[in-house]
Symmetry: C2
Subunit: 650 residues, 2 copies
């Protein structure tokens, strides 16, 4: 096992006053890379700055109101005895409160407003008041009078606890306030007393507490939390969880984690478990577990991931399908699954230093994740379809068809999106003993510890719309260190320019420059921003004969509203050998690059039995047309109409 320690890594229990990111491995952790703390990274422009500002200005305040109107806060108040009533909503209502608190904490790091701090204090007090004397806390169980942990396969008690722990860690790291952490520690201690090798061997049907317990360990230094997380990871896979009409596979409980070779069942559960197991592997230096997780992640990428990075192809059970079962029209691709995939990928990146995990995170961030929130910042997709047909708009029971919504009865996605946007700077850069690694590109600044001192550099870029990323060193110690910049797997032909000298930058690796840096030094990475027509492995049956359009890290979609009058999206084909244009349009969709390609519009006039002798179908006649594509993430922001990511080839 390769263990790399680093002078700036926190010791457990030491970070009580320093702020940090959402994932802060201890100094003894077995990770190749260590996150640059969230507060040492600023994002000052581009897509992410805009989305993060709207998240803070609109999304987080709106979320606070939803917690009131949906009854989440009342559930806690009733549990505290400060108001009366009965529990509302599903069993995991508390988790939305905690995810909102977590989002508010990270947002406070971006923009420390007194109003937001006051709101956090108020909600924290509501949570604290609901906690029972022995530390137990779950308002729905308390109100509905069920036995504590009596139906843990479905009760989500650990899941809610995990979100509380993450919120508490975020709050102390961003505001320095310890109120929520005290609640979290009391509940975590209750879990430690109740579960584990010498306690109950039950498991929550929904993983989440594992990663949260590890982060609480990192914050507090209490190793019991790490041990309990390890216990929960290793206790899984005994086929014990059957609940809510679902079999063990749904709960990631069919196969022990260390024997599993892929991901299966409920997608969010599976990837949250992956993230938690990775945290355990990192903190325990458990190389065997890490290898297992690499294998699982690789299988997920190769066989169960949409081109958008979306995860989970089945509405039934919100689940991963079989390998290559990835129909665009029936895609589920829950926003929370993309988020969990990003969290898992980040931990794998820290553990291994392998850029493919940063590639995976980037794809999910710009596509499967970012599509989950409207440009207005207050409406959300739960399900992310990749193909809406013209006739799909009639039936309102199919959620993505009628667009994003402000909230849901099962409201996991909105606050999950909020906390992810708010904590984004924590996922951009890392350090190791040699220097700094830049994984994701956004305009801003990074301050990081390197051998010999602290470096500060700016990042200037129009990425993801343009391929040039310029790093300008603003301050550096008098020592040699390495700057590593990720060259995405799609970026064949990338070039790196250092002080006017060009060198190649292999795709799917880090372009590295080792030297003594001085203020004013610049490095320019040029990523090729050609329009790419992408085809799927032929085992992805549902998109055989189709291509998707990519440019940079962006997956494009063809939306009805952008096509010439009279063109029907489902009649379009695209010519991958034809010319394309890519134009940045500041006026469109808060600023996006629009791609046009050549294609054909077929005439589909028949409405008869659709299966005919091969070669015997009506001749496809039609006309040459331009096909206009926008970033997938921006679809459904001008009303909702037909859309497709995959188009048949001409």
């Amino acid at each position: 096992m390769t263990t790399t320690t680093h002078p700036s890594a926190p010791t457990p229990g030491s970070s009580q006053s320093a702020t940090s990111g959402p994932v802060a491995p201890t100094s003894g952790a077995a990770c190749r890379l260590r996150p640059v703390p969230l507060e040492a990274v600023s994002i000052t422009g581009g897509v992410w700055a805009a989305r993060r500002q709207i998240n803070g200005d609109v999304g987080v305040p709106a979320g606070r109101e939803r917690l009131e109107s949906a009854g989440n806060l009342d559930n806690l108040r009733i549990a505290a005895g400060t108001t009366s009533g009965t529990a509302r909503g599903p069993v995991f209502m508390d988790s939305d409160v905690y995810k909102w608190l977590e989002a508010a904490a990270w947002e406070y790091a971006r923009h420390p407003s007194e109003e937001l701090l006051a709101a956090q204090r108020e909600v924290t007090a509501i949570v604290a008041a609901a906690q029972q004397p022995d530390g137990y806390l779950d308002s729905v169980v308390q109100l509905r009078g069920g036995e504590r942990y009596g139906e843990l396969g479905w009760s989500h008690e650990h899941y809610c606890a995990g979100h509380l722990f993450q919120a508490a860690v975020a709050q102390v790291r961003c505001t320095g306030e310890r109120g929520l952490l005290e609640v979290a520690v009391r509940l975590a201690d209750h879990l430690v007393r109740t579960f584990g090798e010498n306690g109950r061997h039950d498991l929550d049907g929904h993983p989440e507490v594992e990663t949260a317990l590890v982060e609480l360990y990192r914050e507090t230094g209490n190793r019991d939390y790490l041990e309990l997380a390890r216990f929960f990871v290793d206790a899984r896979g005994q086929e014990r969880i059957v609940a809510y009409g679902r079999e063990p596979a749904y709960f990631s409980d069919r196969v022990p984690v260390r024997e599993q070779t892929t991901v299966e069942g409920h997608a969010v559960r599976a990837v949250y478990l992956g993230a938690g197991a990775a945290d355990v592997a990192i903190e325990l230096g458990d190389d065997e577990l890490l290898r297992v997780l690499e294998r699982q992640f690789a299988a997920m990428e190769a066989t169960k991931t949409y081109i958008t990075g979306g995860l989970g192809s089945r509405w039934d059970g919100e689940a991963f399908g079989d390998p290559y079962e990835l129909p665009p029209d029936q895609a589920y691709a829950e926003s929370c699954a993309a988020i969990g995939g990003i969290y898992w990928a980040w931990r794998m990146l820290l553990a291994t230093g392998d850029p493919r995990y940063a590639d995976a995170a980037e794809r999910k961030l710009y596509n499967g994740f970012l599509a989950g929130v409207s440009l207005s910042g207050e409406e959300f997709f739960y399900v992310n379809s990749l193909h809406i047909r013209a006739d799909a708009l009639a039936d309102e029971s199919r959620s993505p068809v009628h667009g994003r919504r402000p909230w849901f009865d099962v409201a996991c996605c909105p606050p999950n999106i909020m906390r992810t946007l708010a904590s984004l700077p924590g996922y951009l850069a890392t350090t190791d003993t040699d220097g700094v690694q830049l994984h994701q590109y956004a305009p801003g600044t990074v301050t990081a510890a390197v051998p010999g001192g602290e470096v500060r550099f700016s990042v200037e870029t129009e990425y993801p719309w343009e391929g040039l990323v310029r790093v300008r060193v603003e301050q550096a110690p008098d020592s040699e260190w390495t700057l590593s910049m990720r060259v995405p797997g799609w970026a064949e032909g990338a070039r790196l320019q250092v002080d006017g000298q060009e060198q190649s930058a292999p795709a799917g690796a880090y372009a590295q420059v080792t030297r003594s840096w001085r203020a004013g030094d610049t490095v320019e990475l040029s990523l090729p921003m050609t329009v790419r027509f992408v085809a799927a492995d032929e085992r992805v049956d549902a998109v055989r004969g189709c291509v998707a359009i990519e440019r940079g890290p962006i997956v494009f979609a063809v939306e009805h509203v952008d096509q010439a009058d009279g063109l029907v999206v489902d009649d379009l084909r695209v010519d991958p050998s034809g010319p394309t244009t890519a134009e940045y349009r500041a006026d469109l969709l808060d600023g996006v690059t629009v791609v046009t390609a050549r294609g054909r519009a077929d005439n589909h006039t028949t409405a008869e039995w659709p299966y005919r002798p091969d070669g015997d179908g009506p001749a496809a006649y039609g006309r040459d047309v331009d096909v206009t594509a926008i970033p997938y993430f921006s679809w459904a922001n001008r009303g909702v109409g037909p859309m497709r990511v995959w188009l048949p080839r001409t």
Copy 2:
């Protein structure tokens, strides 16, 4: 409106002693064709005789035991006070009892055993004892103490009543016994007193009572039942039914029947409603309603039907997808939906005389329906996938993957399959004022009323394995009448031979011979039994670039077990321009024709990110192979392994 009456058509209330089929329009009904009564058609050989015998010998007796072990009968006994306990199972438990009773009645017509009659009497007595003094009957509501019809959106009280009515009609038609009919009439009268224009305007969330009320009207002559059926049909579509987390579309309640242009929502609900509405249209001579139903059925056929005739592509909500949303791997295609589709098609055929409805029924019968039952007759598919991948076998939570099962918690399909097999002779032939129409071909005899008297003829055929269908007149009156034989839509090039004279027989129409017939006259219809490679309309995205294999009315499937050692079904391609063979194998799967085609086996060795620049994928290399296909209906009878109906073209 064209109304054809016929001397042999029953007058309402007149059929109390005559046996008849499952659908017996009254003499005043507006139908072009009238069913030849079930007892006037015998099936003496071939696929259907074999399946029907096993259904009677094994399926029906096993079903009786399941009603005991699953608690259906106990629910009724507890309601009657003859035993104690609490209700088991879902709300529609009674309906399984009624469907079994209906199956037993039709089976008694095939094979009148005293044992089966005794079993019917016993179960009938259990049902009768549970009925309340005012006629109300629903054991689950009675036992769980809910308000009668208080949650009709989900309670299935009318649905269960409908199955009771159909069972009662079957029983009196096949056994002459009136015990169940008396129960049915009491309950139907209770419904008439409670619902309708002048009563409650509520609707059951699951259509079924509409078609059943019409049949009860046909049997009893009580026009109130017909009027109530019409009321239920026309009251639908007000968007009032929201239950069980489902929206009105799920319940076919989004759009009024007369305004609907397609089918949507829960597939079984939609097609049962179509069947009931067709019955209403027939009995009321409601031409406007009939036109609406023709349009809906045509849209279903053109855009929402699998090649197997299977209906409903979404697991979520067991629902129809959008038009052309027909992924083979995520197909739901519930057995009950195929059955409902057959029932609807039959009524549309009676109403219109259009052979396309008989084509649709045939496709469903031999494929989507027949796949629902094992060759052993006692295991059933609820869901009928069209593509099982090699890796699908791990997760046991996906029902079709692990094969047919003896029964289900929601056990609608098994007794539905039993009653359909048992009543099959009722769906083969019709008469009109000109003569006899033969719609489906099976060896046996038909006796039917024609102008001037009664005709009796035999049918000799090896169909669906061979294309020759020979009709031999055994007895005929001394008058001129027309024999019509359906030429399926796929049968281009069919020929008809009468007394050695050949004439053409256009596909998708009836080949007709009008003459004075004498005993010994023969007609031979020759249907071309070439192997057909069939492609889908390109809007069926999920099978673009693929072909399916058909021969005669049979859709074929490529099942793992039949391929040469080492061949993986998901690696196979098929060459539609290559040679094929078709061989009947008496030793295989109770006797089936096996098709072989030429193809390629690709090597899929990579397991990496599956989306690559168009044209940039690893070269497909592989080898020429034979691809072996069996009838889809017979798959999963030798264990369960990978299977696919659609294969990529070479």
